[in-house]
Symmetry: C2
Subunit: 567 residues, 2 copies
């Protein structure tokens, strides 16, 4: 079995596929950047050079030397457990298993940096095989990294050293649908589109639509505490989980109970957001909603961001939130209007509105509200009550077309980013959450930090922010930054900015992350959120479930100096 002896042997053939991996879509799928947009970027950000992808990309493991006997043993055992056809040594697949969707991931690949590949990608068919695989890995002390959709933007999959990727792609079964309760159990590898397709004819929806929806998996939603675009109405991932089945080195753990209990601390919450560090989530029991039969998406303009925030707060605190609530600041509004240029309808409507109010384009803010219901009359009464509030804060309707257009294009941003990267622009997003009165100060400090970090003599970043998840106590902030990429060292260019802006978010009282999770990129700041005691508690739970530390080490809990043992 020479391929087991050295799974790295064929890695040098991966150069091309690795270059393709530095993007969200396939080569050729990215939309064209319009001349108008190109001019806007050149004017607002600076002139960029098309990204010259490295010709010398090798993606060979940084590690050299023979493969360990334990790894050979584990791969042989894995073939017995899952079948030889589901143990993959192909470098393309191994590369995908360690690559997320962050700018750092893409820039790394585009600039030809070395990537440490996992030694094998192994696809168990079900919980039982996953459990056996984890136990085999534990016995051989080989690290296991779960790989679902591969959409982490926080380095959740990025690590070095001998390891296997446990791919959840074969665990896509749906079972135990309780149509009375609206509960269903699914394999962790189920994707959003597949789940919604299975649920639709049965009259249900999950209603979880993160921007990564096309590729992400249910297991990933849960492991990272994600929030979909309709989280205001449908809840966050943690609100959707009624139960979990987890494969840990200590054995199978099934937890959770519908509809509610006071059975001590809710231990499902310990696995939700555990990012593979406490074991691999193999099955999720989800709370479903009846599939809405009435929908209305609409756009509106506010005179200022502050007016929009005040209106959203009033809606949230009086029980008339829409299911989708988004509010763009003036900078994002400007680009949204420009992107809609092909039809021009939204831009014209907005301009008409601004003129009629005597408002400058510098302050006007676009908002999208999406209403979903199984009852037409209820949708109407909620919406009517909301418009009473909205009008009070100066909102003017821009109609349904713009709202529907947002809805149709809601998963397109990552493809647009591919195009912008091709054009030589750094594009990255970051997010936080704050209470209502914190939102504008946090946004301002984020913008200032990014402008400070990413400006030079000839270029200035373009920074824009929106609110997209609304709670009674506050909301999320989601910032996109465009800058001219430093193609000679893109990763460190962004790393410096990320360090500065994260410090600034923490100092402003914002959440370290609202829905992107911790991964490796945010781990250095986790103590600021949960305390050193919190890290110790997480470590104690990890030591209990995974005593040998084989489960995705490095996420969540930052490496700390070893403590001097006490007597």
């Amino acid at each position: 079995m020479p391929d087991i002896q050295d799974p790295h042997a064929t890695a040098s053939t991966s150069a091309h596929s690795a270059k393709s991996a530095g993007r969200w879509g396939r080569h050729g799928e990215a939309p064209a950047i319009s001349a108008d947009m190109a001019e806007f970027l050149a004017h607002e950000v600076g002139v960029a050079q098309p990204w010259v992808e490295s010709a010398s990309v090798t993606h060979l493991d940084q590690r050299t030397g023979p493969v360990s006997a334990s790894l050979v043993d584990l791969i042989a055992r894995a073939r017995e457990i899952v079948g030889a056809g589901h143990v993959h040594l192909d470098p393309q697949l191994r590369l995908r298993a360690t690559t997320g969707g962050s700018y750092t991931d893409y820039a790394n690949l585009r600039s030809g940096a070395q990537v440490d590949l996992p030694d094998a990608v192994i696809s168990p068919a079900d919980h039982q095989q996953a459990q056996q695989l984890i136990e085999a890995a534990d016995a051989t002390r080989i690290v296991v990294v779960p790989w679902g959709g591969g959409t982490s933007v926080v380095g959740g999959l990025r690590l070095t050293g001998p390891r296997i990727a446990l791919r959840t792609d074969r665990m896509q079964d749906m079972f135990d649908l309780d149509s009375q309760a609206g509960l269903v159990t699914v394999g962790a590898g189920m994707t959003g589109p597949r789940l919604e397709a299975l649920l639709a004819p049965r009259g249900f929806t999950l209603g979880h639509y993160p921007q990564s929806w096309e590729q992400a998996t249910i297991g990933g939603y849960v492991a990272t505490r994600s929030a979909g675009q309709a989280s205001t109405g449908f809840g966050r991932a943690e609100d959707m989980v009624a139960g979990l089945r987890v494969a840990t080195p200590r054995g199978e753990w099934s937890i959770g109970r519908a509809p509610a209990s006071a059975d001590g601390p809710d231990l499902t919450r310990l696995m939700i957001g555990s990012e593979g560090r406490l074991g691999v989530i193999t099955e999720v029991t989800l709370r479903l909603r009846r599939r809405p039969t009435h929908q209305r998406y609409e756009a509106m303009a506010f005179p200022t961001m502050a007016a929009g925030i005040a209106a959203f707060r009033e809606m949230a605190q009086t029980g008339i939130s829409a299911d989708v609530m988004r509010l763009s600041d003036a900078a994002e509004t400007a680009t949204a209007l420009r992107q809609s240029a092909p039809t021009g309808a939204l831009g014209q409507a907005f301009a008409t509105y601004l003129r009629s109010r005597g408002i400058t384009e510098r302050h006007g803010c676009l908002a999208i509200l999406g209403w979903e219901s199984t009852r037409r009359t209820l949708l109407g009464s909620r919406r009517n009550a909301a418009w009473d509030v909205l009008r009070g804060f100066g909102a003017v309707s821009l109609g349904r077309n713009a709202g529907e257009s947002w809805r149709r294009n809601r998963f397109q941003a990552p493809y647009l980013r591919d195009a912008l990267l091709d054009h030589g622009y750094l594009v990255e997003t970051l997010e936080t959450a704050g209470t209502w009165s914190q939102l504008l100060p946090i946004r301002d400090s984020i913008h200032a930090a990014l402008v400070h970090s990413l400006s030079d003599a000839t270029t200035t970043p373009y920074v824009m922010t929106h609110i997209s998840h609304v709670y009674e106590t506050g909301a999320s902030l989601y910032t996109t930054v465009l800058a001219v990429a430093d193609q000679s060292s893109p990763v460190s260019q962004w790393a410096r900015a990320k360090q500065d802006v994260t410090d600034c978010i923490i100092n402003s009282g914002g959440a370290l992350t609202h829905h992107h999770a911790v991964g490796r990129d945010h781990a250095p700041w986790l103590a600021s959120q949960v305390g050193e005691i919190g890290l110790d508690v997480l470590q104690a739970v990890a030591d209990q479930l995974d005593p040998r530390g084989i489960c995705n080490p490095g996420v969540l809990i930052p490496p700390r100096a070893p403590q001097v043992p006490t007597k």
Copy 2:
């Protein structure tokens, strides 16, 4: 300091106060049992003899022998920390600190059983004093039991051995009100009535109304994951917590962040429901609601329990739940009508309804819906939509008077229980939750188990159940049982029944507890809910935060046989 040398010295004076402690209210506060009710009980349950409270009650500690030097040290240190006036050795207070509100607690006291008192009751003024006290207790290896309202019905306060009670009565401050976000921080000893009185003039409410509202504390709500009577609209205790400050032997732990985050697992959820086993919650940051300006409570009748359940399910799953939703089974309906006898209006309305439908009294079920809102129009549209559903399931309105009457009397049941105990009846409640299709089967099996356990040749228990907390996936079940008390061994009479009925709830797939918590009484069953791995995880967290095991040992995690150490 002789009183420190032996804090038990004056315990024998506590006989009278201890007898008074075997009830919810003060002596003389229990309502009279009407002749009609007495006849009903005699007919349905059996003839009981007024409870003869033991004349030989001593309530002396079962422990004898000298007080340990560590305890003497701790009490001296406690006087330095909190001030001598806040270290209480009075046996009355010490008795209250170890007595909850369960039938077992009351029967124990009424029948003169020995009670192991804590050695001192200590009231820190704030978090800092509580933290110092915990650290002093940890240094002397003396157990600490937090004592808030003393309303545990699961033995949360009941233990033996040297220990101090950390009373939270002085920690009732309210600070850091953020009126934009609707967030406030309060001391753990704040009671519901005091908090609502402080919030009302500021336009806010917490909206948490457990039956123990008059006595229970915010810290207790959180430590036990309680659910108030309006939880359907206002959420459970865990939904109300934005942050926590905890005193642990490892030091202060502050956790939580509003409004939402993906900062790894939500560690606040580890403390919510921790029942004092992981430290003492000293401050809670609460999510508030705007104080409703419009309220409507109303009663209705359903032809059967099944029809009521189906209507409640339809409301919950189409987003038109009321804030309070209660549905009594036919047995509870019969007693509710009888209790309302003084006016008779409800009983007459109900009888008229039943006759008009040709329904026998055996099946008709009473329901209460309570609507609360800051907008009259929204209350109306929700209620109208709900009545479309309700009528479809045969509901007939019994008007607002009955609803308002329920609301006025919502905290009266424990006083009525005092009266029933005085008359010689065993009265206890138990609760669970299940998915919609489980509810009737679980209810039936609970009733069967109780009738089997508590019947004898001459008496049969009266068992009645209601739904009072509604979720999209299911609901809670709350059962009250009335039986003739075995005054010679009341504790073991109930212990046998509790064992049987809990086994039966678990076997039927119900939650071990929906809102009463685990305490010591439910601990033996916790593994059935969270698995042995779950218990190990809880133990690992406890070992991390409380390495010497001084924090309320015995709750949550059942004592287990010591494991043989592995090499």
